[in-house]
């Protein structure tokens, strides 16, 4: 493993499999009454959140705490950042306090990258602007692998031959960027389905296929990932109305019926029910939304564990079985 996790592009297939397999080991822990390992005892993990994201923040917090790390939550609101402190000064402050890892969520693309140049500890990108969100992609891959390959039998396997359709605002989506990179590295065949306005101009250079139509992609999808639509995109003329978007690219019950029997429906949350995903789809047995949240904690444990080089894995596993 490298020192930081900033982009899914930094992960080779072997790196990604190591994280997924480590998560698989750690998943067992979640089922135990005492959900805690001593591996990161005495280490400090800072959650540096410049954007409100309770979901991601508590997921990282739970992950770090289950590994016994000390967790400091640093929210930009009401802090020195609100008083105009620069990212660099915040970084130097955290550095002085001895952060072993900084988990950063920031509205600017590249913020995690910049931070990594200013701190000695590990940097984990928890979403930077419209760039990437690599732990989301890892938890998505983990969820797909468990659901489509079977939880017990999945270890060591990639996502070879699995067909994934990612639907919606790819242009502004850090989730889509990380997923395209990671899933293709794991051998999946990724298709992006979106209106042309919500695809990057040079999307043909990405390791995936592109379609302007959702319906034709559904019957050949093993997993469909619905991206959150931000209604403010409408005012910038990316699409005419939420209703039209929903009609053309929303996943309702009728569309869901076009999926193969085994196919799953994913969403990184938070969902806009009735816009990109209908309530009956979100609540259906195909939906992995809740599972994704649970898997998020497990994946983030694996990432922190591997980045911070906790005790060797067999030892940790022994702790689990104790």
């Amino acid at each position: 493993m490298r020192r930081h996790l900033i982009s899914a592009a930094d992960l080779s297939r072997a790196d990604a499999l190591l994280i997924l397999d480590t998560a698989e080991e750690l998943a067992d822990l979640t089922d135990r009454p005492i959900k805690k390992l001593p591996t990161l005892r005495g280490r400090t993990v800072v959650n540096l959140f410049f954007e409100d994201s309770t979901r991601t923040r508590i997921s990282f917090e739970a992950a770090a705490k289950r590994l016994s790390a000390d967790v400091i939550n640093f929210s930009a609101k009401g802090s020195s950042v609100a008083k105009g402190e620069s990212l660099k000064d915040t970084a130097l402050t955290l550095e002085a306090m001895g952060a072993d890892a900084v988990v950063i969520r920031h509205g600017a693309s590249g913020a995690a990258h910049r931070l990594a140049g200013w701190v000695r500890g590990s940097v984990v990108n928890a979403g930077d602007g419209t760039h990437e969100h690599p732990t989301q992609a890892l938890l998505d891959a983990f969820t797909m692998r468990r659901r489509l390959q079977g939880a017990g039998a999945a270890r060591g396997k990639g996502l070879d031959g699995i067909r994934v359709t990612i639907v919606g605002d790819v242009l502004h989506s850090r989730v889509a960027r990380s997923n395209v990179l990671l899933l293709s590295a794991l051998g999946a065949q990724v298709t992006l389905a979106a209106p042309p306005t919500l695809l990057p101009l040079a999307v043909d250079s990405w390791p995936c296929a592109v379609s302007y139509e959702l319906d034709s992609e559904l019957p050949k999808s093993d997993a469909v990932m619905m991206l959150r639509v931000q209604t403010e995109r409408m005012t910038a003329a990316y699409f005419p109305s939420v209703r039209e978007y929903s009609r053309r690219y929303g996943l309702d019950a009728a569309r869901m019926a076009r999926l193969p029997e085994h196919a799953i429906v994913m969403h990184p949350g938070p969902m806009n029910r009735g816009v990109e995903i209908a309530a009956e789809v979100a609540d259906s047995a195909r939906s992995t939304v809740v599972e994704q949240v649970a898997n998020g904690v497990t994946i983030r444990m694996a990432v922190l564990y591997l980045l911070l080089g906790g005790t060797e894995f067999p030892e940790a596993a022994a702790e689990v079985s104790r």
């Binding site: 620069s86 990212l87 660099k88 920031h106 600017a108 693309s109 590249g110 913020a111 990258h113 910049r114 930077d128 602007g129 419209t130 760039h131 990437e132 850090r174 960027r177 990057p200 101009l201 040079a202 999307v203 250079s205 990405w206």
Partner: protein, 445 residues
């Protein structure tokens, strides 16, 4: 900008011995071999071989190229208002070290150079520094607001004798205002230098729209946002018969449009920056905002096309768009960071690398693109050569054979050079402004 600048002494005679002349005008090509240049009383007294020393200080120019003093059409000196980034003093020091004898100071200062008062202030500061002529550029619109014309005629009639007008940093986006500005400056032989950037197409834009912007998740800056304005303005210039100058051309498409406009005989000129001749958007991969600039770095295909257009004269000249920023404006997240790069001290070296070492331009060509043509576009009669007896002795001695050396911090108050640590060939050895050495042996005189 007439007459010698005050101060700094040194009106003694100089004999530059054995330089290869570039930009010597008709009949004296560099192929004729090295020549001596005798400088006396601020002018070139004689050019020839084996000239007599006769009390003059001798500068051995063996192996050096002598160019007419470089002229920059596009410099941000930041004074008044942002003296933390640059001042006329520090900016002209950087200019002299880069081989420049005249720079055009852009109008986007604080206050904006949109009145005779401000342009005269900048002009006087330049004269007081004395290292390099400072020719103020006047704003096109009041406060760069793009709504009302600034008092262009008053600035033209002022002591600063403004001839180039620009809202640089912002585009004169309103087509009617652009038309009127172009028409109006005909009365005093002015030129409108346009920062071509369609504002709606570049809202929040960060990086050239293409593979890199998509990968990095930075809002794309489409080439068409520049090209649409370039095309419109060429048509307007043709319609009203006025001089248009296109600032910092950055795309292959803009070059093509300008080539077409020139083929029609329309009064259009254009500049390209050293960084757009050498660097691409690939450099943004590390999110280091030192590579953030307006217009953005483009692709390798654009770079190749810009070089070709400069070589064939479609693009008239190289202009630095020297844009100093304090450290904190760049030591931040990419979207927060200021646009701009400094370039005065590295321009000639960058042009050698991009144009001369690649075989696209010879030194006569460099003299034309970095001195003669910018002087003509800027209406600076005392600059631009040719290196000939009777002309003002403003010249630059350059050593193209100096081994490539890493770019290090220089005289500019700011450090935002995209070439930091990068090796560039060549070295400016000496700069003379009307017979006075402003730089000798690569150091400020």
């Amino acid at each position: 900008m007439t007459g010698p600048a005050p101060g700094k002494g040194g009106q003694g005679a100089w004999l530059v011995r054995g330089a290869a002349l570039a930009g010597a005008g008709a009949g004296v090509a560099q192929a004729d071999g090295p020549a001596d240049i005798l400088v006396r009383g601020g002018t070139i007294a004689a050019i020839g071989s084996g000239l007599s020393q006769a009390g003059a200080r001798v500068l051995d120019a063996d192996g050096l190229v002598a160019l007419p003093g470089l002229v920059d059409l596009h410099t941000h000196l930041r004074e008044p208002g942002r003296e933390d980034a640059e001042t006329v003093e520090t900016g002209t020091r950087a200019a002299a070290l880069g081989g420049y004898t005249a720079v055009h100071a852009m109008a986007n200062t604080d206050p904006v150079a949109d009145t005779a008062g401000v342009v005269e202030q900048v002009w006087r500061l330049g004269r007081a520094c004395g290292r390099c002529d400072v020719q103020p550029v006047g704003a096109v619109s009041v406060g760069l607001g793009g709504v009302r014309l600034a008092e262009l005629g008053t600035m033209a009639d002022s002591a600063a004798r403004v001839r180039v007008f620009s809202d640089d940093g912002r585009c004169v986006a309103d087509p009617l205002l652009m038309r009127r500005a172009l028409e109006y400056v005909k009365a005093f032989d002015g030129v409108i230098a346009q920062h071509a950037q369609e504002p709606r197409l570049t809202e929040g834009a960060q990086l050239n729209e293409g593979e890199m912007s998509g990968r990095l998740g930075l809002a794309g800056w489409p080439a068409v946002a520049e090209e649409a304005i370039v095309a419109r303005d060429c048509l307007l210039a043709a319609h009203v018969g006025s001089a248009l100058h296109v600032c910092h051309v950055s795309t292959a498409g803009s070059a093509e449009i300008i080539r077409w406009a020139k083929s029609k005989g329309w009064p259009v000129t254009a500049e390209v920056t050293p960084h757009h001749l050498l660097l691409t958007d690939e450099l943004a991969a590390g999110y280091d905002p030192v590579f953030k600039v307006n217009p953005p770095l483009r692709t390798a295909a654009d770079v190749a096309e810009l070089r070709r257009a400069l070589a064939d004269g479609t693009i008239d000249c190289v202009a630095t768009d020297h844009a100093p920023h304090p450290v904190e404006a760049k030591e931040t997240e990419w979207p927060e960071a200021a646009f701009g790069m400094i370039g005065l001290e590295t321009a000639l070296r960058a042009v050698q690398q991009a144009m001369v070492d690649s075989g696209l331009l010879d030194w006569d060509g460099v003299a034309d693109r970095m001195s003669a043509r910018p002087a003509r576009i800027g209406r600076l009669a005392g600059h631009g050569g040719p290196l000939a007896a009777g002309r003002p002795a403003s010249l630059t001695l350059y050593d193209p054979a100096a081994p490539p050396e890493a770019v290090t911090p220089g005289a500019s108050k700011s450090r935002n050079t995209p070439f930091a640590g990068m090796e560039l060939p060549g070295r400016v050895v000496a700069t003379f402004l009307r017979g006075v050495p402003t730089v000798l042996d690569g150091k400020l005189g």
